[in-house]
């Protein structure tokens, strides 16, 4: 069993709080992504789990055993570093073999493990080369292969595919997922690419400013963001936020009244995903003044104004809309997110 318990981990650098009491439990064999903007503390959390950085307070357990204070090499995990840290003075083969050599694995096992990892990451042609002449993407794959070669129980990956071109990235992503699922490796995967996180993860932890904003299955996080930040961070285009007045406990969208959990007199923010609308006659729907219409092939992306606020919505590719048009939109009543304008927190999200 290699579940990971992160219990109120805090990290301060001088007076700066990089991590503010992070708690997260990762089940054995689970794939969890840490998703968040640059500087939110993803790498710091990973380095603390690896033992490369000492937490200011809080507890860490792997497989039920406390690992606070344990040296990195005694934590039994492997890591892919954000800046690769591929050893320049060793061939690619020796780099991938490094962890196995440290475990004093016999020659046969070293060879077979390295070959397996190299095949998976398509780095066989470079096994005899030195990293010096490899491209960033190639080095990154060496770093991933080095971590996979030891078949760790716990694998920490810090943006391991960030330097690959889109096509290779997609391919690696799929293969990584297959391999890690088959081996039952508990994985923490840092990324700020939300499609990557959605595609790979059993659960996603969205981080912001040293806090975990929300943890959940990708679809949950996408459809039921707990806060304005999460909604805006997930999805492309990001969720729209429209501030609207509340009258008699309802908000009027076009001809329809929607009851909201807020009293009359105050405002509420509607979180609306761009794809959760359908076209409707202008008189019946929410009025969208179209500023830009971009036919994307699979869909039509409209940028415009609703209730004096900028929005982006997605319509089927066949719709004929041009810049300057005013059209009516009918939001999907089941998929409306209501947010507090003050706190930015969701008002209809069931608190977990």
């Amino acid at each position: 069993m290699a579940n990971i318990v992160i219990d109120r981990i805090k990290k301060t650098f001088g007076t700066f709080e990089a991590l503010k009491e992070i708690s997260l439990e990762i089940h054995d064999g689970e794939f969890v992504s840490l998703l968040g903007p640059s500087g939110c503390g993803k790498t710091t959390l990973l380095r603390i789990i690896a033992g490369l950085e000492t937490e200011t307070s809080g507890k860490l357990l792997i497989g039920g055993t406390p690992i606070n204070g344990l040296a990195p090499k005694d934590r039994g995990l492997a890591m892919v570093f954000q800046n690769y840290a591929v050893f320049p003075h060793m061939t690619v083969f020796e780099n991938v073999a490094f962890g196995l050599r440290m475990q004093k694995a016999d020659q046969k096992r070293v060879k077979s493990q390295v070959d397996k990892a190299a095949a998976l990451l398509h780095i066989e042609p470079y096994l005899d080369r030195y990293p010096n002449k490899l491209s960033g993407g190639q080095r990154q794959r060496v770093a991933v292969a080095r971590a996979l070669a030891v078949e760790p129980k716990v694998l920490l990956m810090d943006e391991p595919l960030s330097n690959l071109d889109a096509l290779l990235r997609l391919e690696m992503r799929t293969e990584l997922k297959a391999v890690l699922q088959a081996s039952g490796t508990t994985t923490i995967y840092v990324t700020h690419d939300q499609t990557e996180a959605m595609g790979l993860s059993d659960r996603i932890a969205v981080m912001y400013n040293g806090r975990i904003e929300q943890v959940g299955a990708p679809v949950d996080i996408y459809s039921h963001p707990a806060s304005r930040f999460v909604g805006g961070f997930m999805g492309s285009p990001p969720m729209n936020f429209i501030r609207l007045p509340v009258t008699n406990g309802t908000v009027k969208l076009g001809n329809t009244h929607h009851s909201v959990p807020v009293h009359t007199g105050s405002d509420i923010v509607l979180g609306l995903r761009g794809e959760n609308v359908a076209r409707t006659p202008l008189a019946e729907g929410l009025r969208l003044d179209v500023r830009v219409a971009e036919p994307m092939g699979s869909h039509l992306l409209l940028t415009g104004i609703i209730a004096e606020q900028p929005v982006r919505v997605i319509l089927p590719p066949g719709e004929t809309v041009r810049a300057g048009d005013a059209i009516g939109l009918k939001p999907d009543a089941d998929r409306l997110i209501w947010l507090s304008p003050e706190t930015g927190l969701s008002l209809n999200h069931p608190k977990t």
Binding site: P72, L77, N83, H89, N132
Partner: protein, 283 residues
Amino acid sequence: MQNDKSWIPYLLIAPSVIFLALLFLLPLVQTIWLAISEGGVPSLANLQTMAGDLNFRLAIRNTFLLTLAVVPIQIMIALAMGSMVAKVGAGRETILWIWTIPLGISDLAAGLVWLSILQNSGYLNSLLFSAGLIERQANWLSYQTPVALFFAIAIAEIWRGTAIVMVIIVAGLNQVPKEYREAAEVFGAGRWTRFFRITLPLIKPALQSALILRTVLAFEVFAVVYALGGSNMPVLVGEAYTWQNQNQNYGVAAAYAVLIMVISLAATLVYLKAVKVDPERLP
């Protein structure tokens, strides 16, 4: 071809090249000629006089022994100091500054510092005497105590010459991003494995420079030896000095100078081969 400015670098470099040629190459050629000629015609007489001299073998032996004793210890101490200071956060600059103080002291002054400690009426004897360890002033630096003299000189040289090695090695260590050591640590490497498998190979260029510099300087050891032992412990440069100034025999002095140069060049070549730095294997 009006915009061809490729001559500018040459123009800028020229003064230093001319300067070095005049003040270095010319005397070098003259010295070599002086060593291998007699009365204007090529001759091995100077070399024969040098090799036949009583002190010649002693000087060679002492110089090599000193180099062998001093350089490895200096490298080890510098590596230890460099690794330790790398772990220090606040106060690092101050520690480095203190450690490099010997750099600012001339080698003769360094010799005199140690003379004041080790001479018959020096601090060491006073200390040992007041501690009741010796009954009368002991002699450390005479020709009758060659081993003590050798150790005294070696210690003084180590004290004086380690700082420069440390500066080079600290610079080398600074070039190695900590991620390499961290990665090794995560993958199970202990402290010593990390040092020998990761750090040491990655600071090879610095190590090579330090070794060459220190070895060449060690073969030229003189002022410290002279200050502490006078002529009690002959070394190569000391012999050159004696032949030049006391014996007024410039030819033999030149022969010594050439010999030291040849040894230094040979040592450099050995290091370049032995501590090979493959640019392909650098970060």
